[in-house]
């Protein structure tokens, strides 16, 4: 097995697991939804199938059990409960662990395999077995029902005609089926039309049909005429199967669960199978038999009737229609008296030489008739348009409603195109020229901004029918199931397929948004690096231009180079922007990991918490988004553990019983701002201060003077957090140090706002993209350096005499504020004094680090630049005062200062 296949499996499985987790939580919150359940089932099924490609039997087994369980939930046999959610979530965790192991070691450890095995057994024990019993009970019910079948009116099933003509079934097979039905079994007629591409999917429909439980009769045939056998594509499946089985509906649905859309299944009444056939050249002798038989029936003289039938059969040619009827009568004689009506109908058939008419139980028939006429009326109302077509229109209408909420213009117009195309296709198959023409006119006029006309057109033609359909949405589970079998098999294949998509929840809207190309991140990174190189190469042009002018004195050439440069510059900026867009992912990708965490923690702590998302669609660079994951886990854990109170406490405080935790994201200039808002206890600044003092993190003096705001920021101090966890004090603090470190590592910042008793808001600000950094270039001691613009407050010139030495620390007064100052040369260990200008003023960059101002003395200011920051590698990684390097247009290397580390290094 190739590695790339395994890699793809790992990659896809992680995606699938992520989505499965989301769905499981969604189901628990919003209740079961058929579409979601179907998606869930498909995901698990895909994973199971994929895992089967490799030798991970335990993973496959566990997924199989989970799939079975989901199938029961999907079929409505089990209600989705917290217990099921727990089991499924745990199973998926196990699978995730196995996939992690597979990735690192290409195999699954014994321990994990064992837990998977246990889990699979657990699922079987707890859920699958209990429903198995249920099935048995069902089975018994069927039996009771079937014994009485003779007394049931003959129900003409429309769907049966569409399925296949039962008269193609040979008489002996019909008889066998009827005998089985008489013994209390249900008979199903099944039509299986495998999809054309099924061979490519590794399917063998014949094998599947062969394995069908309790087959009575089967035929396979080509569903299309083949005029020239030599030119066929032998790998395109055009074979259909018709067959009869007496397995239960549950068994059959289970057996064909992966191809249900290709299978039609109808529970047939055995009466439909009583089809006498043969040569109809009868004689007078038969009329005598009919009258005799009637007499025997009246007298209940069963044995005589039996003998008469038998002897007449022996005398007649078996090919006659009459003989065929006699054979049928022979079967039913054993079931007298309840089969009397059937025999009577068969006798009549001998007289008329027409197929038997089973018209007994008048009252019941009347009832049946009433139902049928009602249905006919309903369909008459709708008969203007086929159901399938109305379904398409209905879906498109829903899509149109949703378009309005989409901001992206391109996407809107694409979706609208899809809608128009779907309606057009539907209309073409409808063959109604006048509507089609009107639609075409309207289609030309609508745009993604204004499609009111289209809405009006839909309302004009179809509103009546759509509202009718809306009333019929609530259908019993059985109806829906039945319809799925029937509908997916109606002959209007094109329309049918669209409907299938709708039923599966794959509306065109969902389809258009999910059209995603998956690309390995390293490929994007490579593109990114190349563009970085391009920017560097491009930046060398201005140097060349000035060189052409100053060194070689060709100002014409210099001008031309400059104009070429501006074109190149424009393109490269566009490219850079485009590649940034590729890397942009919505914060929802990380947000959606948390419902599970919140669910598990709140359950564990017996708290009621509602998690809300705001601005999920906010996008930022993939790395930025991923860097959020860990800090968010810490913060959310804190909010739940320490912030939100238990229900009793909340009630006593006059708060809603359920606490709210909001994860919000929005843009703020070049940053993405993530806020975690809870309505819990808030942070008690006094307690935090006291704790910090006790731990020796602040001095007594600080303790006395500290403002509330400063005190709260103490939670970010390293060492503070661990003390908190150990004592489990009601304040926050677990891992806040970790949060700050992580966020700052990615060039972000973190802040806290809190109100005692009301709640806490923690804000994380992170750069939208980490790829391009804006820097200001400075020079000190002959060395050029870059400083990130976002940490620079201002650049000032400060006269030498304004810098004072207080207890060995340098300070100056800037706009009536005392600002500490340090010399960059000293920190960088450059043994040169700083250069002042002619007015004896130092060049000073005022930095804002951790909310405090600090001045950095340098030699010279240069302009700003956009650079692609490359982290330092190898031994240089330890030089933390530099965050990385960049290559400038003239080929020189620029080191970028990390102001925070610089200040730490200076110990100010």
């Amino acid at each position: 097995m190739s590695d790339s296949l395994l890699e793809q499996f790992i990659f896809e499985s992680r995606d699938n697991l992520q989505r499965i987790g989301e769905i499981l939580i969604e189901l628990e919150e919003k209740g079961t939804d058929k579409n979601i359940l179907n998606e869930l089932f498909r995901l698990v099924h895909t994973m199971k199938g994929n895992s089967g490609l490799f030798d991970f039997p335990f993973m496959t087994k566990l997924l199989h059990s989970a799939e079975d369980l989901m199938n029961l939930v999907r079929g409505g046999e089990l209600n989705y409960s917290t217990e099921i959610a727990d089991v499924l979530l745990e199973s998926m965790d196990l699978v995730a662990n196995m996939i992690d192991e597979v990735e690192s070691t290409s195999s699954i450890s014994h321990g994990l395999a064992q837990s998977a095995q246990e889990k699979a057994n657990d699922i079987k024990e707890k859920f699958l077995k209990s429903t198995g019993k249920k099935n048995q009970v069902f089975g018994n019910n069927h039996k009771e029902k079937e014994v009485e079948i003779l007394n049931q009116p003959y129900k003409h099933d429309n769907t049966l005609d569409q399925l296949f003509d039962l008269s193609i079934i040979p008489e002996d097979a019909c008889m066998e089926a009827v005998k089985i039905a008489l013994n209390g079994k249900q008979i199903f007629a099944i039509h299986y039309s495998p999809e054309e591409e099924c061979f490519y999917k590794g399917e063998d429909p014949l094998y599947l049909v062969r394995q069908t439980p309790n087959i009575i009769w089967v035929r396979s045939y080509l569903r299309e005429e083949i005029s020239d056998p030599a030119s066929i594509d032998i790998y395109r499946c055009i074979t259909d199967f018709d067959f009869l089985s007496f397995a239960s509906e549950e068994e059959l649905v289970e057996h064909f669960k992966y191809v249900l859309d290709q299978v039609k299944l109808v529970n047939i009444d055995m009466i439909a199978l009583i089809i006498p056939r043969g040569d109809k050249n009868g004689g007078a002798i038969y009329e005598d038999f009919v009258s005799d038989a009637r007499n025997y029936l009246e007298e209940n003289n069963i044995d005589t009737l039996k003998n008469a039938t038998k002897s007449l059969l022996e005398l007649s040619s078996p090919k006659l229609y009459f003989a065929s009827v006699l054979r049928w009568i022979e079967i039913f004689i054993d079931y007298l008296p309840s089969s009397k009506d059937i025999i009577e109908a068969l006798l009549q058939s001998i007289e008329t030489m027409e197929p038997p008419v089973f018209s007994f139980k008048k009252e019941a028939k009347e009832m049946q008739k009433n139902i049928e006429t009602e249905e006919n009326e309903k369909t008459k109302e709708k008969s203007d348009f086929p159901d399938e077509f109305l379904k398409i229109i209905k879906t498109q209408k829903i899509v149109l409603e949703k378009i309005e909420s989409i901001e992206e213009k391109l996407m809107r117009s694409n979706i609208l195109k899809g809608v128009l195309l779907s309606i057009e296709n539907g209309l073409i198959s409808l063959n109604r020229a006048e509507i089609y023409q009107e639609f075409k006119n309207i289609a030309e006029k609508v745009s993604s901004e204004d499609f009111d006309l289209l809405n009006k057109w839909i309302t004009k033609w179809f509103d009546f029918y759509l509202s009718y359909n809306a009333e019929n949405i609530i259908e019993s589970k059985k109806d829906i199931q039945k319809k799925t079998y029937e509908k997916s098999a109606t002959p209007e294949e094109t329309i049918g397929q669209v409907c299938k998509q709708v039923e599966k929840g794959e509306s065109p809207l969902a389809h258009s948004t999910s059209k995603v190309l998956k690309v390995d991140e390293s490929k994007i990174d490579r593109l990114m690096n190349l563009i970085g190189e391009l920017v560097v190469a491009k930046n060398s042009l201005p140097y060349l231009a000035s060189k052409a002018d100053s060194v070689y004195g060709i100002s014409e050439l210099s001008k031309e180079i400059k104009s070429q440069y501006s074109v190149l510059n424009h393109i490269s900026e566009e490219m850079q922007d485009a590649i940034m867009q590729i890397r942009m992912v919505p914060v929802s990708t990380v947000f959606h990991r948390f419902p599970r965490l919140v669910r598990d923690l709140s359950k564990k702590l017996n708290k009621k918490i509602e998690l809300k998302f705001e601005g999920e669609e906010t996008e930022a660079d993939k790395n930025v988004i991923e860097s959020l994951s860990d800090p968010l886990i810490h913060i959310i854990r804190n909010s739940i553990d320490h912030g939100i109170e238990p229900p009793e406490e909340r009630i006593s405080k006059n708060k809603a019983e359920t606490g709210t935790l909001i994860l919000s994201a929005k843009y703020e200039s070049d940053n993405v701002l993530i806020e975690i808002i809870d309505d819990g206890r808030g942070i008690d600044a006094e307690k935090v201060k006291l704790k910090a003092y006790q731990k020796g993190l602040i001095t007594e003096e600080q303790f006395g003077n500290m403002k509330e705001n400063e005190a709260i920021n103490l939670i970010f101090l390293p060492g503070f957090s661990t003390a908190e966890t150990a004592t489990d004090l009601s304040g926050r603090g677990v891992g806040m140090d970790v949060v700050r470190t992580a966020v700052e590592k990615f060039g972000g910042s973190v802040s806290v706002k809190t109100e005692l008793g009301k709640g806490t808001t923690i804000s994380l600000a992170l750069p939208l993209s980490m790829a391009v950094s804006h820097i200001m270039m400075v020079e000190t001691g002959g060395l050029k350096l870059g400083i990130p613009i976002d940490s620079i407050v201002e650049t000032v010139r400060i006269p030498r005499f304004m810098i004072r030495n207080i207890k060995g620390k340098m300070v100056t007064v800037l706009r009536e504020r005392l600002v500490p100052i340090f010399y960059l040369n000293k920190i960088l260990e450059i043994d040169k004094p700083h250069i002042t200008n002619e007015d004896d003023e130092y060049a000073v960059v005022i930095l804002c680090v951790k909310g405090e101002l600090i001045g950095m003395v340098i030699d010279k200011f240069y302009g700003t630049a956009d650079i692609i920051l490359k982290p330092l590698v190898g031994f240089l990684t330890n030089m933390r005062i530099f965050s990385g390097s960049a290559i400038m247009g003239d080929g020189s290397v620029l080191l970028i200062i990390n102001p925070k580390e610089l200040v730490n290094a200076n110990r100010i």
Binding site: F199, I215, P229, I234
Partner: protein, 76 residues
């Protein structure tokens, strides 16, 4: 070899998979009155069955297992 071709007769043995369908197809194209012996077949892939259906091949011996019901044979 799951399929043994002899003059106008193909004898299918054991498991006929989808790859064998192609050789069956190539053989059937060439023959005018091909006969197929299925008596020793355990299973044939749908693709092979389909080819037999397309060419309306004459079946001289039917399968002896449950597969025979697919060829219209039934236990009385």
């Amino acid at each position: 070899m799951p399929i043994e071709f002899k003059n106008n007769k193909a004898k299918l043995t054991g498991l006929i998979n989808i790859e064998d369908a192609e050789s069956l197809f190539n053989w059937l194209i060439k023959k005018k009155k091909p006969k197929v012996d299925l008596s020793e077949v355990n299973h044939i892939h749908t693709a092979a069955l389909q080819i037999l259906l397309i060419f309306r091949s004459t079946i001289v011996n039917f399968p002896e297992n449950d597969l025979k019901i697919f060829f219209g044979w039934r236990d009385k």
